[in-house]
């Protein structure tokens, strides 16, 4: 612990890692709440895995992989959102196909890129310790964007997630609102890829929100609680992984997963205890 604080004070990379973790937790708590309550974990998984195609292509053509990820994430969000609203019955098959093809394309591009690439592992599993100052700024801007849009459209997003049909009857463009929501999720995914990598992104997006759901009475309070939990998970994961010399992404997710399991068990015990009390 002392060693971690010492490194944090003296080393840039650790400061960057901690800042990105905290900033990403905010977006993760806010958008993860939508993912959990609207039950679009699979859709979000589709978006995040398709992103590898974009990263691979950007890598092959010599662009920054994160920019490739960004473009493809938005395209995937629009495509998947359209499919899920229009062809609801075949939604899971179509998303599954996009998910697999996106990843396969990414792998082909990475394979064809000359030279050995160490980066593949860090795209897949993330490496928060490699995050640079520029990424910190990028993540801060995305946070600002997400929070301002959610503040402006809070009641509309709530209505679309809660009851799509009735929202449509209110004369609200359900398709455009839903697509915007998915784009914000896509942006969050790109942000989180830098923290935990493509494979673990869905866990970080959903676990804090799913844990918060047990305790929060409203969407707003769930977002705040999920953000706080996200910050606790990333920070403690960072500390443990540094002290024990473990991969950071996986450590963060294991901590988040354990917290979720503990919360689930506690919740079950509490409600059992209550019903026992009443008898």
């Amino acid at each position: 612990m002392f060693e971690f604080i010492h490194v944090l004070q003296s080393q840039d990379f650790m400061q960057n890692a901690l800042t990105v973790g905290l900033l990403a937790s905010v977006a993760c708590g806010v958008m993860g709440t939508y993912v959990v309550v609207r039950r679009i974990v699979f859709i979000s998984g589709g978006i995040s895995h398709t992103v590898l195609g974009g990263m691979g292509a950007a890598y092959y053509y010599g662009f920054n992989p994160i920019h490739g990820a960004f473009v493809v994430a938005i395209i995937a969000a629009l495509l998947i959102g359209f499919v899920s609203l229009r062809y609801h019955q075949h939604e899971d098959t179509l998303i599954g196909a996009l998910w697999a093809v996106g990843m396969a394309v990414g792998i082909l591009f990475i394979y064809k890129t000359p030279g050995y690439n160490v980066d593949l592992m860090s795209y897949l599993f993330g490496n928060i310790l490699m995050v640079g100052r520029e990424s910190v700024k990028f993540v801060a801007c995305l946070d600002l964007l997400i929070i301002s849009i959610v503040l402006l459209l809070y009641k509309r997003f709530l209505a679309v997630c809660f009851d799509e049909e009735y929202t449509r009857l209110q004369g609200i463009g359900v398709m455009s609102t839903y697509l915007l929501l998915l784009c914000l999720i896509a942006i969050t995914v790109v942000m989180l890829i830098q923290v935990v990598g493509i494979i673990l992104v869905i866990a970080l997006l959903t676990l804090p929100a799913a844990t918060a759901r047990y305790f929060a009475p409203s969407l707003g309070s769930m977002m705040i609680l999920a953000s706080i939990l996200g910050a606790v998970f990333t920070t403690s994961g960072l500390i443990v992984s540094y002290e024990q010399n473990l991969p950071s992404g996986a450590t963060i997710i294991v901590i988040a997963g354990m917290a979720y399991i503990v919360a689930t068990v506690l919740r079950g015990l509490v409600s059992r205890f209550r019903s026992y009390d009443k008898k």
Partner: protein, 246 residues
């Protein structure tokens, strides 16, 4: 009450779900101030008919005008209580916030709801006698309480027409009576279309009855005898077609 202004005009409408014809050659005019009851056996197309009026689905053939416009454009003047709202009871939302969704189309685009929206929501909650539950979690209410909240949501937009799809199916007798009285009161200003299997209610409150069974037969209430209803529910519809008064 009989101002004769047509609120809904349905002309020769056919509707099919994936090639299965559900409604055939429906013609129906609902006038301002009408209180129309819709009856018919399960799967006869009652809910489908309401959805057509809301523009949620579109006819295969024929035309539908609501308040002189295409249904999509008239939606905001209609309150709707769905039969089975696709609502997740685990969703973290309060009763008040559910009712406020009924103000979404009229509230400002950005930011929160206005004070007036909240006041109207409170008023609607009082009207259906569920006000004391306003800050409860929606998912923890009983089926009947939920239905009352959805009723408040339909009323809060001050609609010109109310479409109710079996709104009292799981509401207890006392409140059911109150809701019928409320509807009767509202009917002074609002046109009401109500799907119900409660024939006792239909004959007491409603001034016209439409029997739906793939096709539609409409009668003023006083002409609706047991025979007519029975024919709608079990007998071949063409036998009573000559009674249609449209």
């Amino acid at each position: 009450m009989t101002t004769n202004k047509a609120v809904v005009e349905i002309r020769n409408v056919d509707f099919a779900y994936n090639d299965v014809l559900v409604l055939k050659d429906i013609t129906l005019t609902i006038e301002e101030g009408n209180f129309l009851g819709i009856v018919g056996p399960n799967g006869s197309g009652k809910t489908t008919l309401l959805k057509l009026m809301l523009g949620l689905i579109h006819p295969l053939r024929g035309s539908i005008r609501v308040l002189g416009q295409a249904p999509e454009l008239a939606r905001h003047s209609i309150g709707y209580v769905p039969q089975h709202a696709e609502i997740d009871s685990g969703f973290p939302i309060s009763v008040m916030d559910v009712v406020l969704i009924g103000r979404l189309g009229k509230a400002p685009l950005f930011g929160g709801y206005r004070k007036i929206d909240r006041e109207m929501a409170e008023e609607a909650l009082k009207e259906v006698e569920i006000y004391e539950f306003r800050s409860h979690h929606f998912g923890t209410l009983s089926g009947g309480q939920k239905q009352r909240v959805l009723m408040a949501r339909a009323l809060v937009g001050k609609p010109e027409m109310l479409l109710l799809d079996e709104p009292t199916a799981s509401i207890d007798g006392r409140v059911e009576q109150d809701i019928y009285e409320l509807l009767k009161r509202l009917n002074a200003k609002v046109t009401i279309v109500l799907v119900s299997h409660d024939l006792g209610f239909i004959s007491t409150y409603v001034n016209r009855v439409a029997c739906v069974n793939r096709s539609l037969v409409c009668n003023p209430t006083e002409h609706v005898t047991a025979d007519v209803i029975e024919a709608c529910y079990s007998g071949p519809v063409h036998m009573i077609k000559h009674k249609c008064e449209l």
